[in-house]
Symmetry: C2
Subunit: 449 residues, 2 copies
């Protein structure tokens, strides 16, 4: 049989038995592009039943996939749905994606900051489960803010403001959505090739020309070790490169929550402060680093030093916070929230977790603090849960800080005591006090290009 031209290729795909594809991966062989296409097309149109898909997924989890197989899988998932066409927006469109962590509000600072530097930054976000809401949920704490813009409106805002943040359309990479749902219930999530193909299929379908990835690493992230974070970053960079999209990754620390706020409204307020140059140092440093690199990826500067100068100017001139105001207004939100936090959902009730003894903060574990925030109502456990935008946890002391016995370390913003007791137990699990200051940790651990 001759493979190559479209018709005979289709015949070949129809004749290929999926059980033979499964057997080949089971036995540790690399799959061909045709075999991967057959699988993804069958998952998309339902002709490959779930029980065959899950058997193949398990074989992939255990046997692995080469960079080439992973790139083919990603490409097949991109082709399973629509691809956003951003070509009518002038300039290099630079996308950004984070693998997620506790108190990760980088996108909300970065979108206006990068746009204020001249970067064209169209941002689509997924709405996953998590300890707090995601970027979309946080933005929806702003009265009137719409994340459900159609593609044309999205592109109009990107043209006018330089950035727009909306929810990901269900028409992008539908094969990934089906496979992810199946992976979730068949213990086949934990696979670098499958994770990177899942993330990258959606990002590539968004139609950007360059992509900056934030691979979080540590206690509060999916990737617990630097080794796994580096492997995931390398895999995603390889996929992007294979697809002709310039892709780079930063590996950033998630042992400790980023910034001081863990919630929705309280994280927004922290973002506003950071865009005004008075936010937490770690958050500002990460946002500056990402914005600077996006300036380079956009082709606006060649060297980091010049890009850094642009970022500094965007912050010190006030253009960054003004760009956020424009973004909020363009998406239907009330821009006055930037000056009056009382317009955001908030609660007055506070509970404080105090230092059990004097010493230095040794650990302030992100995962437990995320759970604490979730217990107060700030996140979702199932997709149907509603989010309380007002509640959350404020981190008052960070690793390395010297503290006295009884000093407040964590402040819980709660609604009528909901979840407070359990959240305080989580706070207890999160904090370690030691006798000497621990070594300082890098916030940006590595770059992968």
């Amino acid at each position: 049989m001759i493979i190559g031209d479209e018709p005979s290729c289709n015949i070949y795909l129809r004749r290929m038995r999926i059980v033979d594809v499964i057997a080949r991966k089971r036995d540790g062989h690399a799959l061909s592009r045709e075999e991967i296409d057959r699988f993804v097309a069958g998952v998309t149109d339902g002709s490959v039943p779930d029980y065959q898909a899950s058997a193949l997924l398990m074989a992939i989890v255990i046997r692995g996939m080469s960079d080439e197989e992973t790139a083919w899988l990603t490409d097949a998932m991109v082709r399973s749905g629509e691809r956003v066409d951003l070509s009518d927006i002038p300039g290099v469109k630079v996308g950004k994606h984070s693998t997620g962590g506790v108190g990760d509000k980088v996108s909300i600072v970065l979108a206006p900051l990068a746009a204020a530097c001249g970067v064209v930054f169209p941002k689509m976000s997924g709405r996953g489960l998590g300890h707090t809401g995601g970027t979309l949920d946080k933005l929806q704490a702003i009265p009137g803010f719409r994340v459900d813009l159609g593609i044309d409106e999205f592109k109009r805002v990107v043209r006018e403001v330089g950035t727009s943040i909306i929810g990901q359309s269900a028409s992008l990479a539908p094969a990934d959505k089906k496979l992810y749902a199946l992976r979730d219930v068949t213990a086949t999530i934990e696979s670098i090739p499958l994770i990177s193909a899942s993330i990258m299929s959606k990002k590539l379908a968004e139609g950007c020309n360059a992509l900056l990835l934030d691979v979080k690493c540590g206690d509060g992230a999916f990737m617990k070790t630097q080794e796994s974070a580096r492997a995931l970053a390398a895999s995603m960079v390889a996929i992007g490169t294979h697809a002709g999209v310039r892709t780079e990754a930063f590996i950033t620390d998630m042992e400790v929550p980023l910034g001081r706020a863990i919630g929705n409204s309280i994280e927004l307020v922290e973002c506003f402060d950071t865009l005004r140059g008075r936010g937490p140092g770690d958050l500002e440093a990460v946002a500056r680093r990402f914005a600077s690199r996006m300036v380079v990826l956009a082709g606006l500067e060649r060297e980091r030093e010049a890009a850094d100068v642009r970022v500094d100017a965007a912050l010190s001139s006030g253009r960054a916070i003004q760009t956020l105001a424009k973004l909020v207004e363009a998406q239907g939100g009330n821009p006055r929230v930037l000056d009056d936090a009382a317009l955001l959902p908030h609660v007055a009730e506070r509970e404080v977790y105090r230092a059990a003894r004097s010493g230095f903060i040794g650990a302030m574990r992100a995962e437990a603090l995320g759970r604490a925030s979730n217990l107060l109502g700030a996140g979702r456990t199932t997709v149907n849960d509603s989010i309380d935008h007002a509640v959350g946890v404020m981190v008052l002391a960070k690793p390395g800080d010297e503290v006295r016995e009884d000093q407040p370390l964590l402040e819980l913003h709660h609604r009528g005591g909901r979840g407070v007791e359990a959240a305080l137990r989580m706070c207890h699990d999160a904090v370690t006090i030691v006798d000497a200051p621990p070594p300082a940790r890098l916030k940006v651990i590595a770059e992968v290009r």
Copy 2:
């Protein structure tokens, strides 16, 4: 939580998340008895969906299972259905199972032969797919022969004749039936633990006190190598022993078809000949060896020599063939077929495959000859195919035989030319002629106890 008494055990099983069980096997851990019970119970009652079952099966195929896990899996599958109670039949009930091969008619010779030696031999057979029909299909070539006896009728025939051969009830090990159907379409057949648990769950549910297994090995068998055949035999013997059933296995050769007939009616005629002491030497030798060991397993003799004498007497006295006549009559068949093969379905048409040159038969490959027989109509490809009992292939020369150019090597019994051309190509693939006689092969390669 206290595990052990029935109610809390059930609570525990209900609370156990199957996705965690899958993850443990994915990561290469041994599963606990409770985890395996949870899986099999969930498959049986449908609460574990196929996509989770197939993911776990794939993890088992790749990661393996210990003898202990395999014994637990088997036991759980036995408990998923009914277990035949043979306790009201006096004596040690000895079962026998073959993993199947080309021209494997051993059970039809062995049942009357062992019974004639005094062994109580209740035999249930599955009806799988294969190159020729299985034991049940071959017996059904006898006009009137019924293989669908109820358990009470089955036990009555065993009491009266010493043996009975019927189809396996669907109520035995229903979990295995579900899992086997799923394995067939998810490339999860090839696993020693899963194969041995599948076979042994059905055999243990049949309620025998001892079990003799025939693990076929070579070109025409599922196990192609001695290593894999030994591993399967050892696994099944361990399961039987774990379950308190004395279990032994013979590993027998299946490079070459057993006997000379490959079909249904023609294999029956060969069985009649063998019970009269004029069958092919290899078939007689295997049947004698198995019958002798069953005499020992039944506790009728302690030593092989004495058991061999019993077998010899059963054959030479005519009691073996008379027992088959009784068996046929007891199950509704016409016993006159034993004396008049013309009463069996038969065809007159013949086609002959001849030696391409003079020399010695080097190989007479079982798999290709099985396919040839199947092409003529002797076997099933799907469960709904009907079988032509009359057709098949007669092997006229065996490895080691000296042949002249043009000498007939294979004789095809066909119906109106159906499949003849393709079958002749298979015959060509099956035969190798060499210059010097190949070393003789053992028919019984090893015993595993």
